[in-house]
């Protein structure tokens, strides 16, 4: 299919958002490797982190096929303001409650996004969405299990989970920052837009949050953390990129 310049830019922008979110949250979650609460969870959480980075690689490959740099260069050699990830994924891992709640909110957004994209007119993305359906489903099952367990375990765990949800919710709303070119994507039937995605996401997470015994922050306190999609990031992103790209910058051909 032949796309106009404007259409292609809109598709690329969408792809960058998806891949950068996956890469950064994958890298963040991998910081738990070796520190997980129990061995089995350490393995599971690390594996999920790796999955996300693998997913981002495939999205960067699609971008490469559209004329962008190769995946490694795209992932590692960009200025912080060229990344399109949302603020939610940039924050340090904090304590496990924060990391779990972040993962819960992010995974469900990703699952819904890929569900919408499985019918995308942009074929490579549609295919990818179908390919990763099982993987992402497992990620949501994993976070659902932990949210349910820890929200109902001890007094301390309940307080922690509620506090983590309160701290994280506005960041998570930042996932759904609409791009100026979203009407182009909707017209092309590539993607129905972030507002539609946010509504689907809310429909999924609200019952889960409530049945876990947690309280969703009041609607009048919702202040989405926007900026990431246009390259305005938190102070946490730059140190992460520097660390992540250290080896690549020393030796771009390094193999391990």
């Amino acid at each position: 299919m032949n796309y106009s310049k404007q259409q292609l830019a809109a598709i690329k922008n969408l792809l960058y958002k998806i891949a950068d979110d996956q890469l950064i949250i994958g890298h963040r979650n991998s910081e738990w490797t070796g520190l997980g609460p129990i061995l089995e969870e350490d393995i599971a959480f690390s594996s999920i982190a790796q999955d996300k980075i693998g997913q981002s690689f495939h999205v960067y490959e699609i971008l490469h096929s559209l004329g962008e740099n190769d995946p490694d260069t795209t992932a590692f050699i960009r200025k912080a303001n060229e990344y399109k990830c949302c603020h939610l994924v940039e924050f340090p891992i904090g304590e496990y409650d924060f990391s779990l709640v972040r993962n819960f909110l992010f995974n469900h957004a990703e699952a819904q996004r890929f569900d919408m994209l499985s019918g995308s007119s942009f074929e490579p993305l549609g295919k990818l969405a179908k390919k990763y359906r099982g993987e992402i489903k497992y990620h949501t099952m994993h976070s659902d299990t932990w949210i349910r367990q820890l929200s109902q375990a001890t007094e301390e765990s309940k307080i922690r989970m509620q506090r983590a949800l309160d701290d994280t919710f506005n960041l998570a709303l930042g996932i759904f920052e609409e791009s100026p070119e979203f009407t182009t994507l909707v017209e092309m039937k590539v993607f129905d837009g972030e507002n539609a995605l946010r509504d689907k996401w809310l429909d999924v997470i609200i019952p889960k949050i409530e049945s876990a015994g947690l309280t969703l922050p009041q609607k009048n306190s919702w202040k989405p953390a926007y900026g990431g999609r246009s390259g305005k990031h938190t102070e946490h992103l730059l140190p992460l990129i520097n660390e992540m790209s250290e080896v690549f910058k020393i030796d771009p051909k390094a193999q391990w």
């Binding site: 393995i43 924050f91 099952m141 932990w146």
Partner: protein, 139 residues
């Protein structure tokens, strides 16, 4: 900016005389035996244990611990406390009484009869064919 560093931002928890947090025993945690199924219809095979707070978590953790490096269609998790076992002190109950080897499968000779039946009915003995081919290949 609010710090997410656990050393700075700790929740107020009761402490003992040494100033250390009083940790509650993780009373719900126990072990689950994990059984792995490679293909539908095949039997589940015991592969190990996971620690978990509930059965659902046991399955979620078993998936990555035991399912990620091999073909898997299904997993079972069973609370270790629900497994009943014989006692190793009683291992002698499994010994076969001398002179009763007829109880063991290896004492039965039936392949001759099976081969004869296959020949009479024109049924190909695939196992035998594979064996012959393997012998020829190794020559």
């Amino acid at each position: 900016m609010k710090s997410y560093d656990p050393r700075i931002n700790r929740i107020d928890l009761p402490v003992n005389e040494d100033g250390k947090e009083i940790l509650q025993e993780p009373e719900n945690w126990e072990t689950y035996e994990v059984f792995h199924q490679k293909k539908r219809g095949e039997q589940h095979v015991h592969v190990g244990i996971v620690h978990a707070a509930n059965p659902e978590m046991a399955l979620i953790l078993a998936k990555e611990t035991f399912g990620r490096r091999r073909q898997t269609v299904n997993l079972w998790a069973v609370k270790s406390s629900q497994v009943f076992a014989t006692n190793y002190d009683d291992q002698d109950i499994f010994e076969t009484t001398p002179g009763k080897t007829y109880r063991e499968a290896s004492e039965y000779y039936c392949m001759d009869k099976i081969r004869k039946y296959q020949q009479e009915h024109g049924i190909e003995d695939r196992k035998e064919k594979r064996r012959i081919k393997k012998e020829e290949d190794t020559k």
